[in-house]
């Protein structure tokens, strides 16, 4: 395991510094207070050192990738908002979120080396996740852009689904690890199809359905896709039965058809996907059309940092930040960012493969799948490869809940990799796995 990743981490921080230097020197942007840059870099270095000391067998390369992605995110957020009245301090706010996320990650690194204890509370996690997600329906919740996803807690507003996903992944991993053998076994046959005992599916199906119903009611299509796919893939990995995936795809088709016919919001999204061009100036399609114009404008090499026009995309610094990257860094830069994500996913899968017990494997896999699918959903959405559903690009998009949630998931991967790495012993064995 790449336990050491000092050079990649330094490179990532240098790239970020170079980005800011370009904006300040070439574009004449006013420099944000240096203290934010220093505390950002300092915090990531502290996290790295603590991880190396406290979890010597953990996969520290994850931290270098996180540094690269959050750094690119910071540069882009700064570039997109520094001259926009009202949101000119968004980059420094994002630094605060990263600091909070890093603090939580440190907490996990320091105190959750025995993360298996979490599985003892799996039902509690499931219950908490559902209650948390349902809380947006209470007077505390409020609506943004037709989707009721936010919760006011005093001065900060948070997006419960970003945290509920952590709890749900822990629940699914714990439950499926316990029941994977009985779920894989077939007990009876129906119309020639071998069926396992349904009773073992009760809890997992209940949580699955509850989370999906909540998200669909809240109009949070992006997260519902995520909360649909991740458990299904975890079930596949746990039982090794492709039939579940096929069943899931059939359910998805039925669900999608039902949503298309009965949820007006969904119809609009699909139409905006199939042919947004005639409605380029209308609300349904303006964002995605502007996104495509900007992506195309970038060409192969990009317009250059600060020379693009992706500010024409409404709310570009959150869900659409990838369009901005593709516009200013071109096909080459966008591919590098996608590769960084793929490296993260690769390491995550590797950790899962090396983990010794099913629960750890499933947890590492669930976390990794969460990142992978979320990235595919939003990048696919802004490039019109699939219908647009609003999720953030992990680590890169602006947003406190997203950043903190992603750091928590990274912390879980780190502690799992520590245990897996220690158990496996030698580095060569790890490479060969």
């Amino acid at each position: 395991m790449a336990r050491r990743a000092t050079i990649p981490l330094i490179l990532a921080l240098l790239i970020t510094a170079l980005g800011f230097a370009t904006l300040i020197v070439v574009r004449g942007a006013t420099s944000p207070p240096l203290i934010y840059g220093a505390s950002y870099a300092g915090m990531l270095i502290i996290v790295y050192i603590v991880t190396r000391v406290w979890l010597p067998h953990a996969d520290a390369l994850l931290l270098a990738v996180v540094a690269l992605l959050t750094g690119i995110g910071l540069v882009m957020i700064f570039r997109l908002t520094y001259d926009v009245k009202g949101i000119e301090n968004l980059a420094t706010t994002q630094v605060l979120w990263i600091l909070i996320g890093s603090a939580v990650l440190l907490f996990i690194v320091l105190f959750f080396r025995n993360y298996e204890r979490l599985f003892d509370y799996k039902y509690l996690f499931a219950l908490a996740a559902i209650v948390f997600m349902a809380s947006v329906a209470t007077p505390l919740g409020y609506e943004v852009n037709g989707a009721k996803l936010w919760l006011h807690l005093g001065p900060v507003s948070i997006q419960p689904s970003e945290f509920a996903r952590i709890a749900l992944v822990i629940f699914y991993a714990g439950y499926l690890a316990d029941k994977r053998e009985v779920m894989a076994a077939t007990s009876r046959s129906f119309l020639g199809i071998q069926l396992p005992a349904l009773k073992y599916f009760g809890p997992v199906a209940a949580v699955w359905v509850a989370s999906l119903v909540l998200l669909v009611l809240e109009n949070d299509l992006g997260d519902s896709l995520l909360f649909f796919a991740v458990p299904l893939l975890m079930l596949y990995v746990a039982t090794g039965r492709a039939a579940y995936v096929i069943l899931g795809v059939i359910l998805f088709a039925i669900g999608a058809l039902a949503a298309y016919n009965f949820v007006g919001h969904v119809q609009l999204r699909v139409e905006a996907w199939l042919n947004p061009w005639p409605h380029a100036q209308q609300q349904c399609c303006y964002q995605v059309v502007q996104s495509l114009f900007n992506i195309a404008d970038g060409g192969i090499t990009g317009t250059g940092l600060g020379a693009g026009f992706s500010q024409t995309i409404p709310e570009v610094q959150t869900d659409f930040i990838f369009a901005s990257v593709a516009s200013e860094f071109g096909l080459l830069g966008a591919t590098v960012v996608l590769l960084a994500f793929l490296v993260f996913v690769y390491r995550g899968i590797k950790i899962s493969m090396l983990a010794q017990d099913p629960a750890s494997k499933l947890l590492a896999f669930g976390v990794t799948a969460m990142f992978a699918i979320q990235t595919l959903i939003i990048v696919g959405g802004v490039t019109k490869a699939i219908p647009l559903t609003g999720v953030t690009l992990p680590f890169v998009s602006y947003g406190g809940s997203s950043v903190v949630g992603s750091f928590v998931l990274t912390g879980l991967l780190l502690v799992i990799s520590e245990k897996a790495g220690k158990a496996f012993g030698s580095e060569s064995a790890y490479k060969g796995a």
Binding site: G304, I349, K361
Partner: protein, 475 residues
């Protein structure tokens, strides 16, 4: 479990690869079509942040359009004002672009694909990428002279196109009344409402009744059908193309008796041309000859918009009355000075029509020549012998006929007058001509709309333009 984990990793990887493919589709394959989408405002946002290229006259000195820094943005300025407006056009964030600003936009705009290493480096470092400079073939002296001649003409409405018949280079292209393209965003609503339609390029976009200049095309068709310049025709003063009913008569009711075909052109005798067209040429041959000379052509390779000239309905629908009147440029025949300059230029150039050109060269901001179009043949219209015969006839129009006003001391001039009846007001005064007739260097088409008779109101103008052009090219 690991087997399944690996499979899912492959699935995720495939997803990422597919996304790179989708990106490549937008950023490489569909890049241009998205840039051209009418809802895409990114290009104009970029364009005001970097200077567009210059538009220059053929001396490389006279600036027709330039970008001037105005705060953080650039503003388009036209130092020559209305003089070149029909050619240069305007470039507006609000009202789009016309003329060369539109036709050469890919060169002028700061968004052109990089063509030199410097440009590539500049673009990759994200620096503002100035557009390329476009130098036109227009001669500033001829342009100004032509402009003033039309401005001070009998009706003050008309157009001139002057070209070098050997190369197809347009030397002057004037439309009057014109407009001032400076501050177009502010002035446009008023200009658009002007009853004189200054936004219309009368040289290439307007269409007008040609009258007797059309007899050059009819004569060419007749010569190809075997009519000889020395053939004698009788003009009793009228001709009934259908045997009865409508009669063709001559201008001012004249009758000329027995005359040669050359004389019929010299004196522009309608009756004889009607008779020749009906009895010797026929509808299809006349129509085909006009098409060969460029009627119906939109000149797609030419960067300015050209309205195709027209012979009216297809020849299969013509009766003899239509054919007889089309032969002297009435009926529903419509053309403009751009097209007639191509016609007379082809005759001047030994029967070979050159591709009309208005771009002399394109240079990068650093002065590197990126494009210098070479003269190219559009098509051969007449065989050399027919052309030479027609040349002699057109010379005779100036020496023996009604275009004596076109004579230049020491230079042989060829030409054809046209006084075209219009539905409203005075006739259109036309003259098409070239000189020196034995070795042409300049061809000119002049139209004064509702200007009166050709001899007094169009011929002297063309004479001045040709004389000035020949003086220019001597040096």
């Amino acid at each position: 479990m690991n087997k399944h984990l690996r499979r899912i990793f492959y699935l995720f990887s495939a997803g990422f690869v597919a996304l790179v493919g989708v990106l490549a589709y937008w950023q490489v394959y569909a890049k241009q079509s998205l840039a051209d989408n009418p809802n895409n405002g990114l290009q104009s946002r970029r364009e005001v942040q970097a200077p567009r290229g210059l538009i220059l006259a053929n001396n490389g000195q006279t600036v027709l359009a330039k970008s001037v820094k105005n705060g953080s943005e650039y503003k388009r300025v036209y130092p020559q004002g209305p003089l070149y407006a029909n050619v240069v056009g305007y470039w507006s964030q609000r009202y789009g672009a016309t003329g060369m600003e539109l036709g050469e936009n890919s060169n002028l705009s700061a968004t052109a694909e990089p063509r030199t290493l410097d440009e590539l480096i500049n673009q990759m470092s994200g620096g503002p990428q100035p557009g390329n400079n476009v130098e036109l073939t227009l001669d500033p002296k001829l342009q100004r002279l032509s402009y003033n001649l039309i401005k001070n003409s009998s009706s003050g409405q008309g157009s001139v196109v002057a070209l070098d018949p050997r190369t197809g280079e347009i030397k002057a292209m004037v439309s009057y009344p014109s407009y001032d393209p400076n501050n177009i965003d502010k002035r446009f609503p008023q200009i658009e409402k002007d009853p004189n339609h200054p936004l219309l390029d009368r040289a290439a976009q307007g269409l007008y009744v040609p009258g007797s200049i059309m007899k050059t095309i009819t004569a060419a068709a007749a010569l190809e059908k075997g009519v000889k310049p020395t053939d004698v025709f009788n003009d009793p003063g009228s001709y009934y193309p259908m045997g009865a009913g409508y009669a063709v008569t001559n201008y001012k009711g004249a009758s000329y008796g027995n005359v040669t075909f050359t004389k019929a052109l010299d004196l522009s005798i309608n009756v004889i041309f009607a008779k020749v067209a009906v009895e010797h040429v026929g509808a299809k041959a006349l129509y085909d000859m006009a098409q060969k000379f460029g009627f119906g052509d939109t000149y797609d390779q030419f960067p300015l918009q050209v309205t195709p000239s027209s012979m009216g309905p297809p020849p299969s629908k013509w009766d003899n009355n239509y054919l007889a009147t089309a032969a002297f440029g009435q009926a529903q025949v419509q053309t403009n000075t751009f097209e007639m300059a191509q016609v007379v230029g082809a005759i001047a150039n030994g029967g070979v029509m050159m591709q009309p050109r208005i771009v002399k060269e394109v240079r990068s901001p650093e002065g590197v020549i990126l494009d210098r179009p070479h003269p190219s043949v559009k098509r051969r219209v007449l065989d050399p012998q027919t052309d030479e015969t027609l040349n002699q006839m057109l010379r005779s129009v100036v020496t023996q006929g009604d275009a004596g006003g076109a004579k230049i001391p020491g230079v042989a001039v060829a030409g054809k007058t046209g006084t075209a009846e219009t539905p409203s007001g005075a006739p259109n005064a036309w003259f098409i001509s070239y000189a020196p007739a034995n070795n042409p260097r300049i061809a000119v088409a002049v139209l004064i709309e509702n200007g009166g008779d050709s001899e007094t109101h169009a011929v002297p103008l063309a004479q001045k333009i040709m004389a000035a052009a020949l003086k220019e090219t001597q040096h």
